[in-house]
């Protein structure tokens, strides 16, 4: 656990990677007992809008229920300030009241209206754990919470084919034995698919449609093409870059 001085705006141009390895903590959180329980990840104070920033996409606002009862407007102001920045906005509520149901209901409603994810902690240690977990898992894939998948490639193909709604496992087996490879199944015509035993006209139609769908949805397909062409339209000269640099430094 390391605390450093607040960085001044002069340091902003430094590459962002030097900071994303740790959790950024808002100065206002000084004195919060949960800070001394953040031990598994590094953190430092910084000039940020939310209370805690984890990476570029996750932020947390901390609120104690006791404090909320005394200052019910506080959270509204913080939320207004935060707006829609960040992909995942978490409201970390520490439940320190004996009878929290009414204020909790209130906060739940607020979260639903302002697109916040509500997480509850019953002690500062738990709150710290929550922040640590977000840091640890911020870039992890969801494999832990997904269904366990077989490692056998043959079984995987069967699962993949049966994920297309009307096709079941027996049909998948039939397809593989008839056509051999996935390539063949994809290449074959709809009529030929319908000729397989157990696969009639409707199944074949759905299967064919699924296999030949483009990956990107229609709207996105065009968008991508457009941005690609626009990307390198403007030529930027070295001089321009240098002047931009100076501009930033002088701020």
């Amino acid at each position: 656990m390391v605390t450093r001085k607040t960085r001044t705006s002069k340091d902003i141009f430094k590459p962002a990677t030097s900071k994303t390895h740790c959790v950024l903590v808002n100065q206002k959180q000084r004195g919060n007992p949960l800070l001394k329980f953040i031990t598994s990840v590094p953190w430092e104070y910084d000039d940020i809008i939310p209370d805690y920033e984890v990476g570029k996409t996750i932020c947390l606002l901390f609120l104690s229920l006791r404090y909320h009862n005394l200052n019910p407007d506080y959270i509204h102001n913080r939320l207004k300030e935060l707006g829609k920045k960040y992909e995942l906005r978490v409201l970390l509520v520490q439940v320190d009241l004996k009878d929290p149901h009414v204020p909790l209901k209130n906060l739940t409603r607020i979260c639903l209206l302002t697109d916040m994810t509500l997480m509850l902690a019953w002690s500062p240690e738990e709150a710290a754990r929550i922040i640590e977990n977000y840091k640890i898992y911020e870039n992890k894939p969801p494999d832990r919470i997904m269904e366990k998948i077989e490692n056998d490639p043959h079984q995987k193909i069967i699962n993949a084919l049966s994920s297309i709604k009307p096709v079941n496992k027996t049909d998948a087996m039939t397809l593989i034995t008839t056509f051999g490879t996935l390539e063949n199944i994809i290449k074959v015509s709809e009529r030929r698919l319908a000729e397989c035993p157990g696969i009639g006209a409707t199944k074949a139609k759905k299967l064919y449609k699924a296999l030949h769908e483009p990956f990107l949805k229609r709207g996105n397909l065009n968008k991508d093409k457009e941005t690609k062409s626009q990307e390198f339209d403007v030529e930027i000269s070295e001089a321009d870059i240098a002047s931009l640099d100076k501009q930033v430094q002088s701020e």
Binding site: L104, C111, M119, W122, S163, K209, E213
Partner: protein, 769 residues
């Protein structure tokens, strides 16, 4: 179920509802159970008729049957085994409780383990928190069930079957999945004693007969004929004897015992249970028709020629029932012959008792034989000169009234209760009281093992019944029943509906009163919980439908998936929650995950996800957070109880449109809703590609962005795939799976020998000793 009841009184203002129950104990589970049921059934008065009620005592006193209690002693071996088993059970219960201190386990005691209601107790206490229990806890529970089956088998089954059962657990495979009791001294003693009951110290097959058999034998051959002599001046014909026992297996056992004799029956059982017999004690050598050869050197058992045994013997008045044991021994379901599924048998004496007087034991020849008759013969029409013995279970295939029917039609003079059952006793009392004045008073023989769990279980059930009635009487005296509970007035339904603001405001929709009754679409499977009824009470109409995505649809945008803590943990671990959230987020703009707490638990324990102290909740917390990272649009709602949830739903619906049933049903999960722009990719092909070998959650986005389509992917060569995926191995795998024929893997999965409930077939548990 609760909701349909609500609709009845609303529509029928006349008519009445009367409900009957014969199980006072069921009303003691949970809180205010009897009030809840009365409310749900719209009944306002409670009448209680316990056995100790004055009216009942008076009416039954006039004519009472003669009761003789026969206390049979267990053999030394049996009573030592019983002690061992109780020891082991105590140990297991203690361990179970020590790692689950926060759970209410006062119903899980050794005493209750042996009662019939044990699995129901387990269910009511543990089902709702099943996923919050550690693996070790579940092992303990499984072992408790195993031990229970053993102790019941000890009391009710013969020594050979018991030994076969116990030997199943003496294998190294079971030791691996066992929770630890097998290492106790008592366990070792148990195995030794069980064997000692079947093989004597010369290792010869010499099983001890069940003590109750001798008692039954004496009754049938000596005592009853004596009685008959006294009353009917020696005419033993037309005497009717009813033997009652608990389950089909015992019926069959008694049937075989009486027709074959104990030695032959035990011998036959040993072969059916695949026991190895190297030598037999001397009394077996005198068996008539020794149709078996035993090779002393050979370890393998030789099956007896039991073709004749397989033919169905006596008739049955009722149809042959195919569901076997009424008594559920979940861990001990071996294959039985078809005639074990019969629930009653009819036998008669072949020789007069006087002819075999002096022989204290049943010789090997049977003196009872089955009455062979054609099917569907009515018992009352049996016209024979011989006495009739009917062996039956208390409840034929779960029918409570079968005993009553039998008593009325068969009218036995002597009833032998081979097992005990409180309701059977009551039914016999009633039968006796109803008899005409010229009929003989019945004599009832109670055969019970002295100082055993059987005796204890009977006394416990009597005690429980008395306690439940006491509780009910107390409840009745303090119960408050509102006058509108019969549902015949509108008052009941309007009580909790909040007043709607009826004022007309021209600023809203130009002065029109846009008054739509609020509707929530509820998934059919949710009706097991209280929430739909509470919603209805709040004034929200419920639309029960089977929906594929979500549990409650509040508005066209809001979809709610409801989870209790236990369900949350279970579905997080299995991956189901991830799939559900994916589908919700694809189809609704405001998906909600509702986590509901257990309102009966004190609030300060709510922070702990898990119940068992040897399990950490950190894992669950991490998984939940990971879920929120991958579904940022998913909102979490933490609700302390269904009441709070109902309130929340009501508030959420304020000022919003009602959901449309047709639209909701159309969402099958195959396509995203048309107006949803959250998904970048076409989901069917995305999900297909996601499952292919070589595709991981890390490279799927790259593949989707640059792959264009499957048609395109198959035209690329391996290097081009590698450029897209940016990983050599994964590209190789994907390339090969697209272009090379895949072969099915070998089926070398280890067969789980000790699955959740069943064990392997007979042949695996081969006793080599």
């Amino acid at each position: 179920m609760l909701c349909t009841m609500k609709l009845v009184p609303v529509q029928l203002k006349t008519g009445f509802i009367k409900a009957f129950s014969n199980s006072p104990v069921s009303f003691t589970f949970g809180y205010h159970q009897v009030e809840k049921v009365m409310r749900a059934l719209f009944v306002t008065e409670l009448f209680l008729w316990p056995r100790f009620h004055g009216t009942i005592i008076k009416s039954l006193k006039s004519r009472q049957a003669q009761v003789v209690e026969l206390h049979v002693n267990l053999t030394t071996n049996m009573s030592n085994i019983q002690t061992c088993l109780l020891d082991i059970m105590n140990y297991t219960v203690k361990q179970l409780k020590s790692i689950n201190r926060t759970l209410d386990m006062k119903e899980i005691t050794t005493e209750n383990c042996v009662t019939k209601k044990f699995h129901k107790i387990l269910q009511s206490q543990l089902d709702c928190v099943w996923h919050q229990l550690s693996t070790r806890t579940k092992e303990y529970i499984q072992d408790l069930k195993v031990l229970r089956s053993m102790i019941i088998n000890l009391i009710h089954d013969d020594s050979v079957s018991f030994y076969a059962l116990v030997s199943k657990y003496r294998t190294p495979e079971y030791a691996k999945v066992n929770s630890g009791w097998i290492l106790l001294d008592s366990a070792e003693q148990l195995f030794r004693l069980a064997k000692g009951r079947v093989y004597n110290n010369k290792n010869e097959f010499d099983p001890e007969p069940t003590p109750k058999w001798k008692c039954l034998n004496d009754l049938l051959l000596e005592e009853i004929p004596e009685e008959v002599k006294k009353k009917q001046a020696g005419n033993i014909n037309n005497t009717k004897i009813l033997i009652l026992c608990q389950d089909n297996r015992t019926c069959s056992q008694l049937n075989h015992y009486l027709t074959m004799g104990p030695n032959k029956y035990l011998f036959y059982t040993a072969f059916r249970r695949d026991l190895t017999i190297n030598a037999v004690a001397s009394k077996y050598k005198k068996l008539k028709n020794p149709c078996v050869k035993i090779d002393n050197k050979d370890e393998k058992p030789i099956k007896i020629n039991n073709k004749e045994e397989k033919e169905p013997k006596s008739n049955t008045k009722q149809n042959v029932t195919h569901d076997t044991m009424k008594y559920e021994l979940e861990d001990n379901e071996e294959e039985f012959n078809a005639d074990e599924s019969k629930s009653n048998y009819v036998l008669t004496l072949t020789q007069m008792a006087s002819q075999i007087k002096g022989a204290k034991e049943l010789p090997n020849e049977s003196i009872f034989e089955p009455i062979s008759q054609i099917d569907n013969l009515d018992i009352t029409q049996i016209e024979t000169e011989k006495p009739i013995i009917l062996i039956q279970t208390f409840k034929e295939s779960g029918n409570f009234f079968s005993l009553e029917k039998t008593l009325e039609s068969f009218r036995p003079e002597y009833i032998i209760l081979y097992h005990n059952d409180v309701s059977a006793v009551r039914q016999i009392e009633l039968f006796e009281a109803r008899k005409g004045p010229d009929e003989l008073v019945s004599k009832v023989y109670f055969i019970v093992y002295d100082k055993t769990v059987e005796e204890q279980a009977y006394l416990t059930s009597l005690k429980r019944e008395k306690q439940s009635f006491e509780l009910l009487i107390e409840t009745k005296s303090v119960m408050v029943v509102p006058s509108y509970q019969d549902g015949k007035t509108e008052e009941y339904f309007n009580l909790n509906v909040e007043d709607e603001n009826d004022s007309v405001d021209t600023r809203k929709a130009g002065g029109q009163v846009t008054k739509e009754k609020p509707v929530v679409i509820v998934d059919m499977r949710e009706f097991r919980s209280d929430l739909p009824a509470l919603l209805h009470k709040k004034g929200i109409n419920i639309e029960p439908v089977t929906i594929a995505i979500g549990d409650y649809i509040l508005t066209p945008d809001i979809c709610v998936e409801r989870k209790s803590i236990s369900d949350l943990i279970g579905s997080l671990n299995s991956g189901r929650l991830y799939t559900q959230c994916t589908q919700m987020c694809r189809n609704y703009s405001r998906p909600i995950l509702l986590i509901e707490f257990d309102q009966n638990k004190p609030f300060n324990l709510q922070g702990h996800f898990v119940v068992s102290s040897d399990l950490s909740g950190a894992d669950v917390q991490q998984k939940l957070q990971l879920l929120t990272i991958h579904f940022p649009r998913l909102k979490l709602v933490w609700s302390p109880s269904p009441y709070a949830t109902a309130e929340l739903f009501y508030e959420l619906k304020q000022g919003r449109k009602n959901p449309n049933v047709a639209e909701v049903l159309a969402l099958s999960g195959d396509n995203t809703a048309d107006d949803m722009n959250y998904e970048r990719y076409n989901i069917v092909v995305h999900d297909f590609v996601q499952k292919l070998p070589g595709v991981t959650s890390k490279n799927i986005t790259r593949i989707m962005n640059k792959g264009i389509s499957l048609d395109n992917l198959i035209t690329l060569n391996q290097e081009e795939l590698e450029t897209i995926i940016e990983n050599k191995n994964e590209a190789e795998t994907l390339y090969s799976i697209l272009h090379v024929k895949a072969t099915p893997a070998d089926l070398n999965k280890e067969d789980k020998l000790f699955g959740k409930k069943k064990f392997g077939g007979k042949n695996l548990f081969y006793n080599k000793k």
